[in-house]
Symmetry: C2
Subunit: 107 residues, 2 copies
Amino acid sequence: MLETLAALANPHRLRILEVLHAEGRAYVSQLARKLGISRPLLHLHLKKLQDAGLVLSKMELSQDGKSLNYFEIVMFDIALNPASVADAARSLPLSTKYEISERDKHE
Amino acid sequence: MLETLAALANPHRLRILEVLHAEGRAYVSQLARKLGISRPLLHLHLKKLQDAGLVLSKMELSQDGKSLNYFEIVMFDIALNPASVADAARSLPLSTKYEISERDKHE
DNA sequence: ACAGCATGAAATAAAAATATTACACATGAA
DNA sequence: TTCATGTGTAATATTTTTATTTCATGCTGT
């Protein structure tokens, strides 16, 4: 979940999802134009979204022979509340140093 | 919503919420010990959580006269899905440069 | 007076994320 | 061939976030 949250915590990436949600799908250069950002930058943000499993891409050939990389949203539905967050925290790599002093044990 | 996502997208802050969820509340030094991190660092993370409205604090005096700053969770329940995210994206400060080329208009 | 435990905050360092610039390569059309 | 379109990546710069260090304060109890 942490990776998903990190992937969503950026204005560009929210907008990318907004466009994909509205349009169904879009290819990279097209998306870059719609958002008004450069392709390399968009590429970085798409990679994060893809690594988090929020979008997927499919290479296609247009009629005039250009290869277009189409992106679309992978459906997700996550509940964010104290319990779900606490749950996510438990499945984090523990930070070795962790010594509970007697005083704080059950408070 | 962006601020909330950013506030949640960090392992320390998830753990802070985990502890507060389990314990109900905790004061700063106590929390720092439980998490095994320094007070100044914890302070920074608590500030982010508080700025995002996910926690609140209340100063109290212990019986032996020390002032303890207790933190607790502010209840939240957010649905994260393509529609809610797209919605959040729409309420972002628009990035001035935004010129839709004729070609990409309705695709 | 000093130790112990609580508070906060400023200054600095380090690390990670974001953004830009510059390449390289492929295809179809003029 | 050159232009316009598409693809990607590597190197660098910039900005933001995270972390540490240091300082200052207050209150008990010995």
